[in-house]
Symmetry: none
Amino acid sequence: MTIQQRPMRADAIRNRAKILDAARAEIAAQGPDVGMEVIAATAGVAVGTLYRHFPTKTDLVGAVLAEYVEQITNEAEAALDRARSGASPLGVIVEFLHEVIRISAINEAAKSAAPALGAAADLDESRAASALAELIEKGIAAGQIRQDLTVADIYILISAAPLDQEEPVRERWAALVLPCLTADAARIDLDEVGQR
Amino acid sequence: MTIQQRPMRADAIRNRAKILDAARAEIAAQGPDVGMEVIAATAGVAVGTLYRHFPTKTDLVGAVLAEYVEQITNEAEAALDRARSGASPLGVIVEFLHEVIRISAINEAAKSAAPALGAAADLDESRAASALAELIEKGIAAGQIRQDLTVADIYILISAAPLDQEEPVRERWAALVLPCLTADAARIDLDEVGQR
Amino acid sequence: MTIQQRPMRADAIRNRAKILDAARAEIAAQGPDVGMEVIAATAGVAVGTLYRHFPTKTDLVGAVLAEYVEQITNEAEAALDRARSGASPLGVIVEFLHEVIRISAINEAAKSAAPALGAAADLDESRAASALAELIEKGIAAGQIRQDLTVADIYILISAAPLDQEEPVRERWAALVLPCLTADAARIDLDEVGQR
Amino acid sequence: MTIQQRPMRADAIRNRAKILDAARAEIAAQGPDVGMEVIAATAGVAVGTLYRHFPTKTDLVGAVLAEYVEQITNEAEAALDRARSGASPLGVIVEFLHEVIRISAINEAAKSAAPALGAAADLDESRAASALAELIEKGIAAGQIRQDLTVADIYILISAAPLDQEEPVRERWAALVLPCLTADAARIDLDEVGQR
DNA sequence: CATGAATGAGCGTTCATTCAT
DNA sequence: AATGAATGAACGCTCATTCAT
């Protein structure tokens, strides 16, 4: 991902990083409609430089998203490593989801911009998916995680987290929703409870 | 919100309705960046007329959102009525949330447009809030709903529903998340489960 | 060509004309790469107005060209009328070509811009073509015009006139080239002359 | 024009040639608006190198034009040589013009780009002019060429050739126009023919 | 009042040219 | 020298909003 055909010049690498930082920050701050000039100015470069690195706005947003996907993937793999080292699968998954929410909040704007621009943040088929699959398997084996839970479910929950909200709201959301992942939660029957 | 200072002329009322319909439809279909001219054309009026009714785009989106809030409110009050008539509070709340997800999906585009435009869909302080408060109270009294559940929690869940996803995804989300509202869910302790 | 679905507003008609005038003048003066803003400024309107009348630069150049084609067509038909009224076909054709050169010089820049922009100035199939065909026929019948002359030949000569040159140059060109249309010219054999 | 103050380094000469080749090819293929980067890429050098040899685009186009002028000049002098060796002056001039049309067609794009860029392809005062002058003189002396023909006339015809057209069109143009150079053509009086 | 033409700031993008490496 | 990254003015075009008809 960071490997180039020919090694980039040091200043070009620096500029690329500055641009990505600026894009992430400005898109998060002002929404996906920030002008390219604004991003360039924030990065301290001229528009032309921005366009040399990212030929279209879609490419730029895509790159921000790719970084985000990369982070999630890293978190997933780190979580799997911890589980393999003996940590509780459920605990690890919960930690992972907390971390994902934290990371995602920052990228919220980029994520919402993506569809409109045709850029896609596909986690599927990725390393993240296989790490999560193994994590879930371990959790089910340990009797902690509900047996019907899938990687897709995790994605549903992530994509539905209230990322645009303040931290306390996100915490409360996690407190309400995360127990749903457990084997215990699977035993709750809404209809039956409704009769009581 | 729909009350005017002076009674509007019949055709003006009709135009306002046509414009709102067009706005809802076009924003849902094409996203929040549809041009005002497109909305006007769909409504069968000229831009000038559109601007007479809604001085800025923000106002128009705000009105679409207000309609949506109105719908939610109606659903909440209808739900409360059913509960007052003896229906299970939990069942009624679950039905309400399903209905809200259905309605919200349609308005998803408008909702996502709102922040960028400075329009807000505030449910707080509304009739919806008091209806929901009473519903939750009844559910807690019946031992069905977790005791710490608040109206704010309901708003958190609604605002975090995966509205931009296909129906089956929304169903799965509901199946995972709604049990979290129950008193049984409140008894799940993630840390404790993690030790097992 | 100037007929609209609904009658345009008086000021819109005036603006359209001002824009076409400005476009013709600026393209002629500065070449086809004049900015749209420059043309708009010359016309005394804002760019938006220009774009309301001509959605793309291609359309604008196309319209300038269409005017030009219209003028040529009118000249051709006027020439035919004179010939039908008894004027010498050759004389009429020569006058027509002189007039065309005069008109074309003004539109030279637009013509050269056209291909690059994908706009086409097609004279073929037009009223001009049939008028010219009849003119040539009359000239041949009168023994004035070379028997193998076609409408295509006229177009070749027109498209090859040194329009970007000063008036005296264009006059000299006409003096050199126009005799070639005559029956007498057809009798000149370059090879035979070369032997003398 | 190709002479340098100090002898260029061998690779510099090679680069200059590669750049000119690329410029000629790209301008012919894509029109005069090809980017400098494209030309540089085609030449296999970086833009910086291109700019070392040709400080502005105008200079580059001017150089392409100069090459073209050089070719024409060579043709003119070769033609004169043939006439001096006893070939028919008219035949030689006709051949020369055919050759010029062939060469010019290739450089058409460069030529049309020139005015917009302020580069000029001046044939006047050149060796070509004196060669042509002598050729015309010989032709007049032989009674083949019209007595009032000047070098300027040749330039007018060249500059008015339909170079942007397909080969058959150019052939037909030559067939129509070249006889005009003859002494016989000078005897055609349009007015008189018009009376017949 | 409705209409729709006019406005003009702003956008994404390009490209001749400069300059650090 | 050669390289290619950086510059930034300019371009074609859009669209929320205003205003003459």
